[in-house]
């Protein structure tokens, strides 16, 4: 166990954990940020996607000791009022079915839109193929990303 300082959603937080603990479990079990989900534990499904300095990463395979003071943003911190253009588009188009994968989907999509504000369908394929949705909401996810791209203010 060691005291580790983290920069999460704009705040500096301290946890006392085994340094090899994946960031996912530090967020969920030690920082009470349960929006980031566990789906596979080996970076295959994307349910654990968070932003590390703006890039989407798989928190389930990222030991917390390697994070240092890099900025982590989770779904809870994506927007102050839950009104990121993607969150709004997701609601407007009623994307979710079970909802379990959607936080990870949104985080992957948010990283995409940050680097590519007007993605093509091919861009969406490339950016989003790391996220699994077992319920099959893909058609609506794609539409929601296009909608958010359209409504986003630069």
């Amino acid at each position: 166990m060691a005291i580790i300082n983290l920069n999460v959603n704009g705040k500096t937080l301290s946890v006392d954990v085994d340094p090899s603990t994946p960031l996912l479990w530090v967020l969920r079990d030690h920082l009470n940020l349960v929006g980031t989900k566990f789906g596979c534990g080996m970076a295959q499904c994307g349910a654990c996607a968070v932003h590390l300095n703006g890039n989407a990463v798989r928190s389930c395979t990222l030991p917390v000791s390697t994070v240092k003071n890099n900025a982590i943003v989770t779904i809870e911190g994506l927007s102050e009022k839950g009104d990121h253009p993607l969150q709004q588009a997701w609601e407007e188009l009623d994307v979710s079915q079970c909802g379990y994968c959607q936080a990870g989907q949104i985080m992957s999509a948010a990283a995409l839109l940050k680097r590519n504000p007007k993605p093509t369908d091919q861009d969406i394929d490339n950016a989003m193929s790391g996220n699994i949705c077992r319920c099959g909401t893909h058609v609506r996810i794609r539409k929601a990303i296009h909608l958010a791209a359209k409504t986003s203010k630069k």
């Binding site: 166990m1 954990v17 085994d18 603990t21 994946p22 479990w25 969920r28 079990d29 030690h30 940020l33 349960v34 929006g35 980031t36 989900k37 566990f38 789906g39 596979c40 534990g41 080996m42 295959q44 499904c45 349910a47 989770t74 779904i75 809870e76 839950g82 993607l86 969150q87 997701w90 609601e91 407007e92 009623d94 994307v95 979710s96 079915q97 079970c98 909802g99 379990y100 994968c101 959607q102 936080a103 949104i106 369908d121 969406i124 394929d125 490339n126 989003m128 193929s129 790391g130 996220n131 699994i132 077992r134 319920c135 099959g136 909401t137 893909h138 058609v139 609506r140 996810i141 794609r142």
Partner: protein
């Protein structure tokens, strides 16, 4: 919110404890403070019933949908069958919930009418208010709650004329949409309770192995690990965090002994072949004489299909919370069958059901996995053994290796053809476990039809996977039907309509489907897809199937890119009676189609020496965004009939529609799943 809700014991006639609360039944709670809570009785597994069932109540009750809140109901003896399965929630509860809403509406009207001293017949409701049109007076439900609570509950309330529906049939956003996209705690994996420990369980690594010697010395030394307990055939490590529990479990040294045969998928299929070569003693259906029809027929088609074992793969790995204490049990977690879990826990712990409460959060997918009680029962056993509240968490490997799988099957289809007609249809199938059954709509349309099914006993467990039976039968039957059409040089749609006309006008024996309703979806999908036209570079496949009371017809358009199919568009026509939530319904149909394409194309489970080879998503391959159809267009046949099933019906026909499209594109028949392996 119910995540932290600790339940009181509910008895058959629970009385409102607070006289400012109007609770005419278990489903509705209206407060003098303006709060309106509707209780959704069936488990929410992504099929949308936490939204659609309360919509039915809200319609008759006359509330403003934007001003109500919804909670998932616990297991409650006043609520009947609280299960999620068989596409049965909406169709089972439609009339019941209308009555529930109407009952409360009439009591609120009665309370207002009394207060105003006018006849109830002069009052109407709208958006949570009772209105007396003649005098322009209005009273909110909040203002009437206390008075309404004192009235007799009417036994036969009048239901709205469906022409007056304002909510049912519209597009309504999922009730939890905002919570989902903002990452609020919603799922079983998010459960947190005072004093609870996280548990990970070491279960047999192969079917046919049982628990032997356990050495937990190293496990107990892991920081955070508090206890190690044995339950039947498994060992649980309990710790203060999920990761510590996992590390503890990884440090266990366990001897697993092979006490039964360790089975292999290769052997299963070899045995299937032998079984299919022998006719069964009692066919499931036998009209006419398929053997005689084959004699001297112009052509006989004889085709075999192979279908693999599948895992359920719901995105939320199994988990469950249990607290067994002082002869009482609190259960909370993802299950599609809370009553069955409670019964089994009661039996195994020797605790009366009356002392057991159970409720569920929203669930990250079901697909039939949670029709089994194992995750809930296991958690109760661990809590009892460890004497503390426990949240059991499964890894993906646990989930993949401890499933009740969609059984592997093999089918043989034979048809005798004349120059231009189908003379006989003979389908023979075998599957692991309970075996196969079911008929194509061809049964009843032609004189010679035989269906035979067998089961292969196995210690690899099988269960129910979305559209059980239909999810394989529709693939084989509709693929074979396409082969028949090709051989007869008949248009796939025209020939279906020909057969269905015969089934209606010259029915052979009994049919369990309505040929007119089949026609309704076929006609609609023809119109939607402009069947008969051709887009350069695109190839079409057609399929149609009836299951869970609903009729579905689909057209798939594919392009071939580097030998792999790219689905450009799927057209899907559905006849499911009245649609409750148009947005949720469309989502279910689109989701079923993607689900079906995924499982036709990519994954399979293989048993080698009783162990599952595909332990996670790197081996058990799922469809990804790049594999998903670009467009899925869904239309519902207009209907005033009561709702029929919708969680499952759009899945069965899609595999054949896709296979038939790939045939149109390549001339290659895909008779073995998963297709991606066949396409190389």
């Amino acid at each position: 919110m119910l995540i932290g809700f600790s339940l009181l014991n509910l008895t058959a006639e629970a009385k409102a404890l607070d006289e400012t609360l109007f609770t005419p039944n278990a489903y509705i709670k209206i407060g003098a403070d303006g709060s309106i809570v509707l209780f959704a009785p069936n488990p929410e597994i992504g099929q949308g019933v936490k939204t659609s069932l309360p919509m039915i109540i809200a319609e008759e009750l006359g509330v403003d949908w934007k001003k109500i809140s919804v909670e998932l109901a616990p297991l409650d003896s006043r609520m009947g069958r609280q299960t999620a399965g068989g596409s049965g929630s909406v169709r089972g509860r439609f009339t019941e919930l209308r009555t529930i809403g109407a009952t409360a509406r009439e009591m609120l009207i009665a309370a207002a009418a009394q207060q105003w001293n006018v006849p109830a017949t002069e009052c109407t409701v709208d958006n949570g208010e009772v209105i007396h049109k003649a005098s322009g007076r209005k009273l909110s439900y909040a203002a009437l709650a206390t008075a309404a609570a004192k009235l007799e509950v009417p036994t036969k309330p009048a239901l709205k004329d469906p022409k007056e529906f304002k909510l049912i049939g519209t597009r309504v956003k999922d009730i939890d949409a905002h919570k989902i996209v903002t990452g609020q705690p919603l799922f079983g994996i998010d459960t947190r309770r005072e004093g609870m420990l996280f548990a990970m369980v070491s279960r047999p690594p192969a079917y046919g192995k049982t628990l032997g010697e356990v050495n937990d010395a190293a496990a107990l030394k892991i920081e955070g690990v508090k206890k190690v307990v044995k339950i039947k055939n498994a060992v649980a490590v309990l710790a203060t965090s999920t990761w510590a529990a996992k590390k503890g479990r990884d440090a266990l040294v366990i001897q697993w002994n092979a006490t039964e045969k360790l089975e292999n998928t290769a052997e299963h299929f070899a045995t299937f072949k032998t079984m299919l070569d022998k006719p069964t003693a009692t066919p499931q259906r036998n009209d006419g004489d398929v053997d005689a029809a084959a004699q001297g027929a112009a052509k006989v088609l004889d085709v075999t299909y192979e279908i693999p074992t599948l895992s359920h793969g719901q995105m939320e790995p199994l988990n469950f919370f249990a607290n067994v204490k002082d002869g009482k049990v609190e259960l909370f977690g993802p299950t599609q069958v809370p009553a069955a879990v409670r019964t089994e826990v009661s039996k195994q712990l020797g605790i009366p059901e009356a002392n057991i409460t159970i409720s569920s959060p929203r669930q990250g997918g079901g697909f039939g996995r949670k029709l089994m009680t194992d995750n809930g029962v296991e958690a109760a056993l661990i809590s009892a053994a460890a004497q503390c509240p426990v949240q059991v968490q499964w890894t993906r490997e646990d989930d993949m290796q401890n499933d009740f799988y969609r059984p592997a099957e093999m089918w043989r289809y034979r048809a005798a053809l004349s120059a231009d007609n189908l003379l006989s249809w003979h389908q023979s199938g075998v599957g692991i476990g309970r075996g196969v059954r079911g008929d194509s709509y061809v049964a009843g349309a032609i004189a010679n039809y035989r269906a035979e099914g067998q089961g292969l006993t196995s210690n690899t467990p099988t269960g129910w996977w979305r559209a059980p039976g239909a999810n394989t039968l529709a693939y084989v039957a509709e693929s074979f039907m396409d082969e028949v059409c090709t051989a007869l040089k008949k248009d796939p749609v025209a020939f279906r309509l020909e057969l269905l006309k015969k089934a209606k006008e010259q029915t052979v024996g009994k049919i369990n489907y309505d040929p007119e309703k089949y026609k309704s979806v076929i006609d609609l999908v023809v119109k939607m897809s402009k069947w008969g036209t051709k887009t350069p570079g695109e190839f079409r496949g057609f399929s149609t199937w009836f299951s869970f009371g609903s009729y579905v017809a689909q057209v798939v358009d594919v392009q071939m890119l580097d030998g792999q199919p790219k689905v450009k568009k799927v057209y899907c026509a559905v006849n499911c009676g009245r649609v409750i939530n148009l947005s949720g319904a469309e989502n279910q149909v689109q989701g079923s189609i993607v689900d079906g394409i995924c499982h036709a194309m990519f994954p399979k489970v293989t048993f080698v020496n009783g162990a599952v080879v595909e332990t996670n998503f790197h081996q058990y391959k799922f469809l990804r965004m790049k594999d998903a159809p670009t467009e899925i267009e869904v239309q519902f046949v207009e209907s005033d009939e009561a709702p029929t099933g919708l969680g499952e019906p759009a899945l069965p026909p899609i595999a054949a529609a896709l296979a038939n499209a790939i045939f149109a594109a390549t001339g290659k028949r895909l008779r073995k799943l998963p297709f991606a392996e066949q396409l190389g």
